[in-house]
Amino acid sequence: MPQEGSVKDRQTMEVTFWGTRGSISTPGRGTEKYGGNTPCVSVTVGDIQIILDAGTGIRNLGLEVDGESIGKEKISRFHLFLSHTHWDHIQGLPFFQPLYEPHAHLTVYGSRKKGRFLSSILKGQMDVDYFPIGLSELAATLDIQEISSRVIRLGPVMVDWEEQSFHPGGSVRYRLSLNGKKIVYATDVELDRLYEPTISKREREAHLKRYIKFVENADILIADGQYTEEEYPKKAGWGHTSIPVLIDLALQAQVRQLAIFHHDPRRLDAEIDDLWRMGLERIKAKGSHMTLFWAREGMTLAI
């Protein structure tokens, strides 16, 4: 009989979407195809467990790994990289089941550019006024680190990062590399701002060069495409990118697969289906073979 399809070797990055929705969770029939949980993506390489953001989607990830570890005394290590600390990217953390297990070890990485320390922010959301269990009462070992080195090595996986310019309060993009394969996670950034008349040509070119260099030839780019072109003008300054701008930049950077992420909370599944069709037409018109899709909860890809 066949082998299990799960990739447990250290040659492949297994990417799973646990939460794809932006801003606030949106449960309901109209959003169940693409999902209503806020951002969380896991990347597994053998026994190395990397998590990108801790939106409400992290709860289901926690339940799954908790189910797998029942009866095992082995230490489970998780590495959580936060793009930033807005609610939708951290609010699932108190519900991450492994935090209540003594054999779990979680390292949280985030920007050091915060005016307040990262640990204070995470502790704040578990203050007694907001949550019954404090951060210091968790059974798991928690290590919160503001990123100090340019590159973080986790076994064979190399993680590098850059601060992003266009999001209120700032945000970080991450690139995970393994054996020449690259996953880029670049959510919560308003790339449309690059084309504002207030941005000088020189500044625009510098930003673009930096962005393209970071995402270039990514095997998968998971990126913020919250708004349509028509919606964007009313949401300018909110920190999110419009879909056509994202697609065109991904094409320019010769990305292999573009997973549009951080879906607008008002966006229904049927509307995403329509946007997907239009996006595919845009790519086809430009003669590209880039794979385009809207990230969907419960989907796992092997990179």
């Binding site: 399809g5 799960s6 697969q257 794979t291 899709f293 969907r296 796992t300 890809l301």
Partner: protein
Amino acid sequence: MALKEQISASDPLSSTILISEKPVVEELHSKGSAVFKVYPGSSREKTVRITLPETIIGRAGECHFRLDVPSVSRFHARVFARGHEYVIEDLGSTNGTFVNGVQVLRCVLRHSDQIQLGQAKIYFFEERACHRKAV
């Protein structure tokens, strides 16, 4: 857009095969059930009800759901129940498992998803559409 139109619009390879939503929906009776509608390339379409907790799909005779198509691996994919959902998982196939055109290792299935295994195309239909219709 009607399901029939959606399928023909999104799938030029099966544009000669039109299926109606009504007969598919009417087949679905029991709570939690789902069916596959299969277009295995050259042979005729067929409907397969998912009844087992795990269904192995492939070219081999031992498979629960056999697809006699050369581009389908002997043990190509499995579909299993997880909670109230069905999940498809690639079993290391040669030509991959695609859901709505995206190559996946594993994917929770949703109503009217198009699955491609080699040249074979399968549509997944959840039972809940029946409830919608009945109301």
